[in-house]
Symmetry: C2
Subunit: 344 residues, 2 copies
């Protein structure tokens, strides 16, 4: 299983996911600005991977800080984390990663700049390593939910490209496949940026898991024809009551799953939970450039100047979610209680 | 209001809808094969327009038949209609148009080839003229359903491009707009061929009606946020019980409308009804080339050889439909009874 983001000798090496599946190009980010741009442009994406990107991005900033005074250094790092926090608004893990990095400095007593730089990098590595372990634990916890011959619909990409390794929703599927379960995956292309068509098909084929690509508007028809036995998706932010922000289109899939009596699972590490929000209403939803819709593929598909609404996420109310698959196991309703296991 | 398909001096003149919105190019079809290709490739599309295309396509075939014997002529015309019937399988109106043309020959007693050719062209003109009148009647019938400040979601394109003139679902909106009602339209791009993004936005802007383009997977989020007060779509085939085949994605929209308590209207002429089918189960659903999904815009968006499911239509069960807007007025459930008004 490959890795989408690694620390490489003072730089962050990424698979540039905007170029997949035609080209698998690795890029090196050596500054906070480059990291910010990579996050903003979705060269690196996926909530768990954004936590890692935030952490390594902080290290890129820290290593270039010239200050020798610990206070100056800490202030400069704060500017770095503040900058990275503006890259994208919805995924909880980005902010969670930055908070973990900030706590490293708060906790240190030695106040030695070189030591602090080292401690930041150690913490970033720890976040990365933990994420890999979390993905394994999520996959292990979710695997028993998958039955022989399951036809699983997922959305967007919640695989190894979106995490340290292995994946969340796809991790569950990979584990089931490793255990000899024959599964078939349906994936909507995930307009406008086509993560389903570009990334999830690519990952699954690479692992020998049969996949059928559909357009997002075919989900209803595919469910109606009995082709889907289960839905498993990732998450970008989970409120205390279980309301879940995830890639735009997830909410419609959840409504359709409910209408057809199909279980709907959300697989995510506890770092995706935001216990400061009692419900999903106040999860900030990123709106992106209309051009992603009207000329996202380099081809204009709508009249010039047409008004476009382009939210990158939507919120699925907890009532539509069968269970969360987390590193703490499979959590069932009532979620306001069961999700407490994710509260550190 | 412009016309998408007209008879022009022995040829059928079409707006090539595959080139919109960037170029509004008119093409001339002078043979059955060209007409067949234009239908197959969606240069002309929309159920009512396909009825007209079928009729004029029959005239193209008829005028090139050299036979002087009436029997030979009729057999040759049958080969023409049989060919045109293979262009696309789902829209009822295509077959309805061909049947009307065939009945012209069956009904004639003079058996004079030149007269029969003339009669076929007359019938084709009549089908076109009737469709325009039907669209006016549908618009008139549906207009009272539209309220001041309505936010109407439609799907694909059911406007003047899809009919003789005016449109069905969009006809209702145009009429409401003419009557001074301020409406706002939401349109999903309608993957894979993007009729919503390319055609409906173009039509509506041309008529000064505000429109917001979204991706198909945003319908749920837009409804949840209270932005949609009504859904009006067209239809490709309506079974006797009201089950309705329409552009892929319509079914999901209907489920979402039901979930949000939003009225869901289908606007169509009675020629869309297929009373030979008791329910929607046996409506033949066209599956189109996977390349429409994977490289529809000339840009490859998925790994080579990926399996694709690309149905062009889905069937919305009658329980999800609030009412049909037809030339016979607005028809409410039970549809097995109310739709009888559409039975000639």
């Amino acid at each position: 299983m490959r890795q989408a983001i690694v620390w490489d000798n003072g730089a962050v090496k990424l698979i540039d996911q905007t170029q997949l599946p035609e080209r698998c190009v690795k890029i090196r980010c050596t500054s906070v600005d480059e990291m910010w741009e990579a996050i903003r442009s979705l060269r690196v994406r996926g909530a768990p991977a954004l936590g890692i990107a935030a952490a390594y991005g902080t290290c890129l900033g820290a290593q270039s800080i010239q200050a020798t005074s610990p206070d100056e250094f800490c202030h400069a790092v704060e500017r770095v984390t503040a900058k990275l926090a503006t890259a994208r608004p919805t995924a909880r893990n980005l902010f969670w990663g930055l908070e973990r990095m900030k706590r490293v400095l708060e906790a240190r007593e030695d106040r030695d700049v070189a030591m602090m730089k080292g401690a930041l990098l150690e913490e970033a590595h720890r976040i990365r390593d933990e994420d890999e372990a979390l993905c394994r634990a999520i996959a292990e916890a979710g695997e028993p939910l998958v039955e022989q011959q399951d036809q699983i619909l997922t959305h967007c990409n919640a695989g190894w490209l979106a995490t340290a390794r292995y994946g969340t929703a796809l991790g569950v599927i990979y584990r089931a496949h490793e255990r000899g379960k024959d599964v078939h995956v349906y994936i909507g292309e995930t307009r406008p940026l086509l993560q389903g068509a570009r990334l999830t098909t690519w990952e699954l084929r690479d692992h020998g898991i049969p996949v059928t690509l559909i357009c997002d508007n075919m989900v209803g028809a595919v469910m109606k024809s009995g082709k889907v036995s289960k839905v498993i998706v990732g998450a970008d932010r989970i409120a205390a009551n279980g309301d879940t922000a995830n890639k735009i289109g997830t909410y419609a899939i959840a409504v359709l799953a409910k209408h057809h009596g199909i279980p709907f699972y959300v697989a995510a590490p506890s770092s995706t939970c935001d216990f400061s929000l009692p419900s999903g209403e106040r999860i900030p939803i990123e709106e992106r450039d209309p051009k992603e819709v009207t000329e996202g593929l380099g081809v204009r598909i709508a009249p010039r100047g047409v008004q476009v609404y382009n939210p990158a996420f939507d919120v699925t109310p907890h009532e539509l979610i069968t269970a969360f698959v987390t590193e703490h196991g499979v959590l069932y309703p009532p979620f306001d209680r069961s999700l407490k296991r994710c509260q550190a």
